[in-house]
């Protein structure tokens, strides 16, 4: 065990993956000698050489197009998009190419070895283009897996699993927690399963579902509710696609109430998908409408960041409303 922050855990996972398999290559904007604008790829070029860890020209569609070709050839690309906000130029390559590669070729070719790492989320005064949480755009894309860790332990275990998984994975890192989240991380190799949720806290009165940086907010809100005598169960979804429906159902059957929260805007956000599915499956168990506490349906604002965010107070209020329904 070692104390690591989220960035160090990611860097550690990349070193393990590159050591284990010479086909693993890490590239993107500024990831080379400089080690990335967040330093997630520090020392990789020194350790593994320029051919395996390199800067690309500044072109997101190029980075993912290149990664698609590399993956289909049999290499194991780990491509970085500097901010999730800048993934949209690569949307066509990801949605039309990466995700459909295996299906459209009848399994002859695939991009299964590809992992796309990108920082996401707000809370860092990033304004419109350094704060977005674009997971729902991609959740609408069959063929992709989407993974979002909440702490260093998860980041390492899920990233290793993502790199080794034989499906393209979009790995979204909560940049607000890059240095803020510190924890004990095993130094040896380990994996955490994709597609499986994590039960963060047991409770009886309401299920709280979130992922990534939002789990911290849920814990704060649950602590407040606890003082009012409300027992909250917290589930970290971890994988957005495919998502762990059984874990959520099991919890909702027990508590009878569900609150889902994410930073991304409400309309068309992934909470809609979860809410609709749980409503279908747990209709007879639900004792109140499913609550969604999300970002506003606005572009991510700068000066009103605090007001925009689905913070612990908004979650706490929604917990009370739902429990007292």
């Amino acid at each position: 065990m070692a104390k690591m922050n989220l960035l160090q855990a990611i860097n550690n996972a990349l070193i393990l993956a590159m050591t284990e398999n010479e086909k693993v290559m890490v590239f993107g904007e500024d990831v080379g000698h400089f080690g990335g604008v967040f330093r997630a790829t520090s020392n990789l070029q020194e350790k593994f050489g320029r051919a395996r860890c390199f800067n690309t020209p500044l072109t997101e569609q190029g980075i993912i197009g290149f990664a698609n070709g590399l993956a289909s050839q049999g290499s194991v690309p780990v491509a970085e998009i500097q901010f999730g906000d800048y993934i949209f130029p690569a949307f066509d390559q990801i949605v039309n190419e990466t995700a459909k590669w295996r299906y459209r070729s009848g399994g002859q070719f695939s991009c299964g070895t590809l992992t796309i790492r990108t920082p996401y989320g707000g809370g860092i005064a990033g304004g419109h283009y350094h704060s977005q949480s674009p997971e729902a755009y991609f959740a609408h894309t069959p063929g992709l897996k989407i993974v979002m860790p909440r702490n260093p332990y998860q980041a390492k275990g899920l990233l290793l699993a993502s790199i080794r998984d034989d499906n393209p994975v979009l790995f979204m890192e909560p940049k607000r927690l890059y240095r803020a989240s510190v924890g004990e991380v095993p130094e040896e190799d380990y994996e955490l399963p994709l597609g499986k949720a994590d039960l963060v806290r047991q409770g009886n009165d309401i299920s709280l579902l979130a992922w990534g940086a939002q789990i911290e907010v849920m814990e704060k809100a649950a602590d407040m509710a606890e003082k009012d005598g409300i027992s909250c169960e917290i589930i970290d979804l971890r994988s957005i696609l495919p998502w762990d429906v059984d874990a959520v159902c099991q919890s909702v059957v027990k508590t009878g109430r569900l609150l889902i929260s994410h930073e991304a805007p409400l309309t068309g956000g992934f909470a809609s998908e979860v809410a609709a599915t749980i409503q279908e499956r747990c209709f007879l168990n639900l004792e109140s409408p499913i609550a969604r506490v999300c970002g506003l349906d606005t572009p991510y604002p700068l000066a009103h960041e605090k007001e925009y965010m689905p913070d612990h107070l908004k979650v706490y209020e929604a917990i009370k409303r739902t429990v007292n329904y």
Binding site: K23, M25, A51, R52, F54, T56, P57, T59, Q61, G62, I64, G65, F66, A67, N68, G69, L70, A71, S72, Q73, G74, S75, P77, P89, D92, Q93, N96, E97, K100, W101, R102, Y103, R104, S105, G106, G107, Q108, F109, S110, G112, P142, G143, K145, D166, N167, G195, P242, V245, D246
Partner: protein, 394 residues
């Protein structure tokens, strides 16, 4: 080309001299004249009789296939087709200059390259009829071929996406120590996509052994080239990216072959990309969903029919004594028969079982796909007559 970046010494000038076009002249390599006679000062590529005849026959086969399948689409037997008439030399002769281990990434009008690699008539038919024997399992539109065993990457409709992919594929080949390159075909319209810019720049900066082969056939559906770009075609852009570039007569199989052959050697030896712009003309309609009479003249088409790449190479072969006209006509008739027979046979092959609808989305179908398939199967079994292609084999 000088190696320059903003830190290197840049030459001075003391007059305002805005660079205009025309300073760089990119001529077109032509070895055979349109009548099939070689230019006096041109060097013929080193190809023996069998090799030239194979190129010629593959071009003829491609034309036969195109004619037959356009007719089949008109008859409603297949849903869509896209002919390469007039551009057979570009795809066939470039493929002939490659090695079997080289990856081909194409746009969709390069069936000649696939035919050259040995894709069978049956395989072409299976794909176009979307049946259960088709390697793509009937999931893509006709002409979206793919053949792993022939190193021919499965085609997709979005234009230009294969260009940066080819850079990545070539980089992987280099890293794996393979003696192989990737050739990437695209039209002059696709070269307007951002992926063209991304792919060429990345290939140059990251030293990828890729050949970018542009078929400049004058039109992107109805859009003429003068509405596509204002510069000196596509070739002039290669120089801006620091990419070695050549323009060839795309209707001259020898010019295409010679340029591609040398491009491959340089790409491998120097680990660098090469851009080839092949000038040609799309004698075909864009696709079976298009009627070119609305946007171009019969005169223009006639001018280009006179430059037919098959006739040109055929004339050279005849002059050389390597081709007998009577035998050639018999051979073509045989090809027509074969295509028609395969068509009739293959159109009866059933489509894949319904279970295939959820396979290959992921390596294994996750829970939600399994649930959706189960629900679908139950629905089909309730209304079997509404889903005749799959209900008999649930």
């Amino acid at each position: 080309m000088k190696d320059r970046n903003h830190l290197s010494d840049v030459g001075f000038t003391h007059q305002v001299r805005i660079i205009d076009k025309g300073l760089v002249d990119i001529p077109m390599l032509q070895i055979l004249q349109p009548d099939g006679t070689p230019h006096k000062d041109a060097e013929l590529p080193e190809l023996d009789k069998d090799a030239v005849v194979k190129i010629y026959r593959t071009m003829r086969f491609t034309r036969v296939l195109d004619e037959r399948m356009v007719a089949a689409q008109r008859q409603g037997r297949i849903s869509f087709y896209l002919a390469s008439t007039g551009e057979e030399a570009a795809s066939v002769a470039s493929a002939a200059a490659l090695e079997p281990q080289d990856m081909i990434m194409s746009q969709y009008r390069e069936q000649g390259a696939l035919a050259y690699r040995g894709y069978s008539t049956e395989a072409f038919m299976n794909q176009m009829f979307s049946n259960e024997k088709e390697p793509n399992k009937g999931r893509q539109m006709p002409i979206h071929y793919g053949a792993k065993e022939l190193n021919f990457m499965t085609i997709s409709s979005p234009l230009g996406t294969q260009i940066p992919q080819a850079s990545g594929y070539a980089y992987g080949q280099k890293m794996a120590g393979e003696s192989a390159v990737t050739i990437c075909y695209f039209g002059e319209g696709a070269a307007s996509e951002g992926d063209f810019h991304a792919g060429l720049n990345m290939a140059a900066v990251l030293h990828c052994p890729a050949i970018f082969f542009c078929r400049n056939n004058g039109y992107a559906i109805s859009t003429p080239a003068e509405e596509q770009f204002a510069g000196d075609g596509i070739a002039s852009r290669g120089l801006g990216y620091g990419i070695k570039t050549i323009r060839v007569d795309g209707n001259d199989a020898f010019a295409v072959y010679a340029a591609t052959k040398q491009a491959r050697e340089i790409a491998l030896a120097e680990n660098c990309p090469i851009l080839i712009e092949a000038m040609s003309y799309r004698l075909a309609a864009h696709s079976t969903s298009d009627d070119p009479t609305g946007y171009r003249s019969k005169d223009e088409e006639a001018r280009w029919q006179a430059k037919d790449p098959i006739v040109r190479l055929g004339n050279w072969l005849k002059a050389k004594g390597w081709l007998d006209e009577e035998q050639d006509n018999k051979d073509v008739e045989k090809m027509r028969q074969e295509v028609l027979e395969e068509l009739k046979r293959v159109e009866k092959v059933p489509i894949c079982r319904i279970d295939e609808i959820i396979e290959d989305v992921y390596d294994t179908p996750p829970w939600h796909l399994q649930e959706q398939l189960e629900a679908l199967k139950q629905h089909i079994s309730k209304y079997p007559d509404a889903y005749p292609k799959t209900s008999g084999r649930l």
